[in-house]
């Protein structure tokens, strides 16, 4: 059930959650800067900052879209594919405006660039409309509708890519290089441009959600759809806005990503980004039941995710990305758990009830121990003592949880 005191309407929840995120972030910074033998965060802060900002901007832009859809009581699984689709659309339109034999698209003029960008944003609008149509007219559950586009759009983009390259240059290609000067310039200044875009978008979204009638209707729709309809709210239009906003942000991110990697590669561009975006929104306090969530929370959620990921890549020198998934997973679980416990009415709940609770304890301890061991193996500080560390962590965890369980047992009886 949704938190009391979260006046979704006014867009402001108790800032407890946001504060916690900020605090955690600062902690991560300090600890990492201190553990990291290079002290990168203190030594070459500027570059680290740029990396974090760039990634946060991309993730955040998509997360804002995800948040709006989630607040409106829906879910959009298609963001990642939408990114790929819009990037491909953009590149293909550029290709059509480039000189016939120019496969690097350097010769595209302002008109072409305008059309390409407009086109890919339009594609976002169209997909959003398609979603709304599937959900409101055909009455597919949002999960199903966007699942279909999640798998569909990417393969559609790949097919377009093969087809157009074949038609245009005679040989099929799974990616299109984009060296158009304008996009090169975009890449040159990507940190500034992306961050500003992100912040402006966030401000805009905040205004819409907490200071306009539309925003109020979004919260109402997410909170109780039938009541919203019977209160004379055109729920279909509100949904349309939500899903179009979701797809538009994704296609915007698509353009940036294309510029940033100067290639449109539908095959695996932004694969799985939708999950990170949803994760960011959830970490930021959006509830998948709908009707609850804030822009500030979402922004902080995205930032926090990226900060922790970056921190780990500072601590674990090589192939840190292996750990990215675990980090996201654990953060999501923890964040939602905390918001859950934050709510009232959870006081008298047991963490490890019954036999399954007992079974859960060693499971978690084992995972924790393995994780610690594997992580330590990559941190010079622990060289040679990994097994020890892993064992210690596992044991400690086991002890801790067992105590919790015991205390619960005491309290219950």
């Amino acid at each position: 059930m949704a938190p009391l005191g979260s006046s979704g309407g006014s867009g402001w929840r108790l800032p407890r959650h946001e504060l916690a995120l900020v605090a955690a972030m600062v902690a991560v910074f300090v600890i990492t800067g201190w553990l990291d033998p290079n002290h990168t965060y203190f030594a070459t802060w500027a570059e680290s900052r740029d990396i974090i900002l760039r990634n946060t901007a991309i993730l955040g832009i998509i997360a804002l879209g995800a948040a709006v859809v989630i607040i409106a009581g829906g879910i959009d699984l298609s963001a990642g594919s939408m990114v790929a689709f819009s990037a491909t659309t953009c590149a293909l339109l550029l290709a059509l405006f480039a000189a016939p034999d120019d496969r690097r698209l350097v010769t595209v003029g302002p008109l072409g660039i305008g059309v390409a960008i407009g086109g890919s944003l339009l594609s976002g609008l169209l997909v959003g409309t398609l979603h709304t149509w599937l959900i409101t007219a055909i009455r597919l559950p949002p999960f199903v509708a966007t699942l279909a586009t999640l798998v569909g759009l990417r393969s559609f983009a790949r097919a377009m890519c093969l087809f157009v390259t074949k038609q245009r240059w005679g040989s099929e290609s799974q990616q299109i290089n984009v060296n158009t000067p304008f996009f090169a310039w975009l890449k040159e200044h990507n940190v500034v441009i992306m961050t500003c875009t992100f912040l402006v978008l966030a401000l805009l979204t905040w205004l819409i959600l907490s200071r306009t009638v539309l925003g109020r209707h979004l919260y109402a729709l997410g909170g109780n759809e039938q009541a919203a309809r019977l209160s004379g709210i055109r729920t279909d239009n509100v949904k349309w806005f939500a899903y179009c906003f979701g797809s538009l942000t994704a296609s915007l991110a698509g353009i940036f990503l294309m510029a940033d990697s100067s290639v449109a590669q539908p095959g695996n561009l932004a694969r799985g980004y939708e999950l990170n975006a949803i994760a960011a929104a959830v970490v930021g306090g959006c509830s998948l039941q709908g009707g609850v969530g804030t822009v500030t929370g979402t922004v902080l959620g995205a930032l926090f995710l990226r900060v922790v990921i970056d921190a780990v890549s500072k601590l674990i020198k090589a192939s840190a990305d292996v750990y990215e998934g675990m980090i996201v997973g654990i953060i999501v679980a923890l964040a939602v758990t905390l918001t859950q416990f934050g709510h009232s009415g959870q006081g008298a709940r047991r963490l490890f009830p019954g036999g399954r609770g007992l079974a859960a304890i060693p499971t978690i301890a084992a995972f924790a121990g393995l994780l610690a061991m594997m992580g330590a193996a990559n941190v010079d500080a622990f060289a040679g003592r990994t097994g020890l560390l892993g064992g210690a962590v596992a044991g400690g965890m086991l002890l801790l949880l067992a105590t919790v369980r015991w205390l619960e047992g005491q309290r219950a009886s």
Binding site: D50, K187, Q265, L269, K314, S319
Partner: protein, 362 residues
């Protein structure tokens, strides 16, 4: 063309005051990082090479550690990694197998690294030399076009030996327009001649299940199919598996690149006719050697590795190619190839060599 090395040297010196200086200062731990293009058994052999090299050239003594970073088969992946290492002052040298030869963004990041005084070379997959040669100082690896031609020649010999005069063939790779895949395929196509028709180039995006399904569909869709060409190392076992499972082994000539452990097993079972094997192990060894020499400004070693510096492709160091056949009875004969470039081996000799370095594949 000299611009390649000298230009880069020129950019290196003025930046000497930057973080690179810190890295160069004696006693400070330094790192060489090897960034792969994707996730492929090929790179395990390379890693052994890196470790061997680290031993041979006394990296430990010089406080240098060598690590490998496996990319996720996407361009953003490599870009993100290059950026990440740019922030870390202890990274003194980077070698990478470029995933997209024409990718401006990757090239830019490589240049940024060079500007910081970090040594950047490409291994196995080079940038587009016409456009971006100066993005890296040197390239170590096989000439993929030559490699492709070699495989094509072998395949043609096998097809002719079957008494075929025509037929189709399909080439399998992770990404059909990744640079090394493209040049190899073109090489194959060029050498195999136009009596045999290329039916398709199938990409599996490094998904093993899809690799197998691709082969299955190819064998079903093209009736005149006579040869199956595996371009990336995991394609060889995929092809062998499928033809054995469908019992159609003897319908096809099977010619593949690289010697993944599974591929070696399959050739022993007689399910692969010929393998053109690069030498990732040597690539690894020489990567370390070169990077170390560059960090220590050891001209002697560099000149030894690049005798033709300044001449066309003087900044390219090709590690040898091997043609491996099951045994002498194979229609593929030593004489077909230019012995300067290609070493001709039978499987037993080859496995013996692997054993020498405790390698499982190459």
């Amino acid at each position: 063309l000299v611009a390649g090395c000298s230009g880069n040297a020129g950019t290196a010196t003025p930046m000497a005051g930057g973080p690179a200086a810190a890295a160069k200062a004696p006693g400070v731990a330094k790192r060489f990082v090897f960034i792969t293009n994707g996730d492929d058994p090929f790179w395990d052999a390379c890693l052994s090479g890196l470790e061997e090299g680290a031993k041979r050239f006394g990296c430990a003594a010089a406080g240098i550690t060598v690590s490998r970073d496996v990319n996720n088969a996407s361009a953003e992946g490599q870009i993100e990694r290059l950026r990440q290492y740019a922030t870390q002052p202890d990274v003194a040298g980077i070698a990478l197998s470029v995933i997209q030869a024409d990718n401006q963004a990757i090239v830019d990041e490589m240049k940024k690294l060079q500007a910081k005084g970090v040594k950047v070379i490409t291994v196995d997959g080079d940038v587009n030399r016409e456009l971006y040669r100066e993005a890296r100082s040197y390239y170590i690896g096989t000439d993929n076009v030559v490699g492709g031609r070699t495989l094509g020649t072998a395949a043609k010999a096998l097809l002719d030996a079957k008494g075929l005069t025509s037929g189709g063939y399909v080439q399998f790779a992770g990404f059909t327009d990744n640079d090394n895949a493209r040049s190899r395929m073109n090489g194959v196509k060029e050498a195999i001649g136009d009596r045999y028709v290329e039916r398709d180039r199938m990409a599996d995006e490094m998904d093993l299940q899809r690799a197998r399904d691709n082969v299955r569909n190819a064998t079903q869709n093209h009736k005149d199919l006579a040869a199956l060409i595996g371009i990336w190392s995991y394609d060889a076992p995929a092809i062998a598996d499928v033809v054995t499972e469908s019992g159609s082994r003897d319908k096809y000539v099977i010619a593949t690149f690289d010697a993944a452990p599974l591929a070696i097993g399959q050739m022993q079972k007689g399910n692969i006719d010929v393998m053109v094997v690069q030498n990732p192990f040597e690539m690894g060894v020489r990567t370390v050697r070169l990077l170390k020499a560059m960090v220590d400004d050891d001209e002697a070693v560099i000149n030894e590795m690049f005798p033709r510096a300044g001449m066309p492709d003087g900044d390219v160091h090709t590690t040898g190619l091997r043609v491996v056949v099951p045994d002498r009875s194979s229609p593929v004969k030593d004489g077909l190839f230019d012995s300067q470039v290609v070493e001709f081996l039978t499987l037993p000799d080859f496995t013996a060599w692997l054993a020498k370095y405790h390698l499982t594949g190459s």
